[in-house]
Subunit: 261 residues, 2 copies
């Protein structure tokens, strides 16, 4: 919004009062807090908030019921209620060489009760790479997965995961659980542990029509023995050649395709 | 090899004569040439050689019939015929913070004649991201794809692609073609163009048992109209949700799974 428009009426002035002030210092406490949410999973957990960069992701969050705590934008944007920041502050907040100039702090969703889940579910146990998490979420949305369950070190609000998911992590139902083995034991759907080798059934042998959970493990170590034991069956993608295993995102794509088709 | 071993017999001395000299300058012409091959697709094409980093990849190349032009290693390795380099030169050549200290320049393979291909083939047209190319090659090997055909900007000898493939690009039969449409038209196998939307058949409707080619396009722009027209059919993965498309690696994983299962 251009400054000369602010004088048009009093309501606008009240709404836009934040615009009277432009944050120009990267040492501003609100900016420092935003950087903390951007960089630290611990801060995100402690405050129950997360950081978003870019118009598209912020709109995805707003359209999917996330509550904005604070929005920042440069004077390139007309964003009601946003705190205005200088280009140099945008540079500090942004992860790209030329940031768009729009950022938001949003309240994290309270997870849906895991016991009530139904349909086709993919569970990610202790996935390490946020880019993998994002890629899997994007594929999950495209194929029609009903819910993503994450546990262990998976941080769905990691900026890299959100960006790699192209917003899918904000649009998909996502549930974060603490104790996978006990959740899997209580789950009424058939639960399949994805394993790279060994005595296991293959996707064509499974009937997923009434819904199922497929659990995919950490990139390096796979699933823990506790998680495998808590599942009803082991599921594998038969492999040839000298590849030791499929990467997590490729295995997830194939298993989600079989689950949903 | 420890230096005191070199005196053991004359044959060893002759074999190891390179060890008498340790390259300590990053301005050495051999090192500058290695860096050029590492960083420039044009240099790789012009010289018909490529650069590898790490013990595992160099062994993969040697075991799969690639001819080494020059091997470099620090004194951590006993590599017959290798040129010895200092740690600081290894640091310059390496792409990681603590390089292993072993590098090789290899002759690129002459591509197999494209007309003689048979079996289950995946063709990558103008794929942009070397990490995607590497990931797709890794999945292709694991699932049992018979040959990878690449065209357009795809550089199978890009260091990032080679690393992401975990050596699969050195182990899989790979053919580089110049003119995809004319190759596809001459190809005797049924050719399927992977498209994100539109009038197209889905994988369960196809019979891949006698072999087929599936062509996957550029991450941003998909396949060109010329390539689609040169194929026998359009193939798509049905999508739900708001995702605009699957990413290239996920789509490739699903299509290769359907092709090979």
């Amino acid at each position: 919004m251009r400054r000369d428009k602010i004088t048009e009426n009093q309501a606008d002035i009240d709404n836009m009062s934040a615009f009277a002030h432009v944050i120009t210092s990267t040492q501003n406490p609100q900016i420092k807090f935003a950087v903390k949410l951007r960089d630290s999973a611990k801060a995100r957990r402690e405050h129950g908030q997360f950081f978003l960069e870019g118009y598209r992701l912020c709109m995805d969050a707003l359209e999917n019921g996330y509550t904005p705590e604070l929005l920042f934008c440069t004077d390139k944007f007309d964003l009601p209620g946003a705190v205005r920041i200088s280009e140099s502050v945008a540079q500090k907040l942004g992860d790209t060489v030329t940031p768009q100039g729009i950022f938001g702090l949003f309240k994290a969703n309270s997870p849906a009760p895991a016991q009530q889940l139904s349909g086709k579910i993919i569970a990610l146990e202790n996935l390490q790479d946020p880019a993998n998490l994002g890629a899997i979420a994007r594929t999950a949305e495209a194929l029609g997965i009903d819910c993503l369950v994450v546990s262990g070190g998976c941080d769905v609000y990691h900026p890299k995961a959100l960006r790699a998911s192209m917003g899918a992590l904000l649009r998909l139902p996502v549930t974060q659980i603490e104790d996978s083995p006990s959740w899997l034991e209580q789950c009424e759907l058939p639960c399949y542990a994805a394993v790279p080798v060994g005595a296991a059934i293959t996707p064509p042998e499974c009937d997923f029509t009434a819904g199922a959970v497929i659990v995919i493990g950490n990139e390096g170590n796979g699933l823990s023995n506790e998680v495998i034991a808590a599942c009803d069956a082991r599921l594998t993608i038969p492999m040839r050649g000298r590849a030791e295993s499929l990467n997590a995102a490729a295995a997830a794509a194939i298993l989600m395709w079989e689950l949903c088709k």
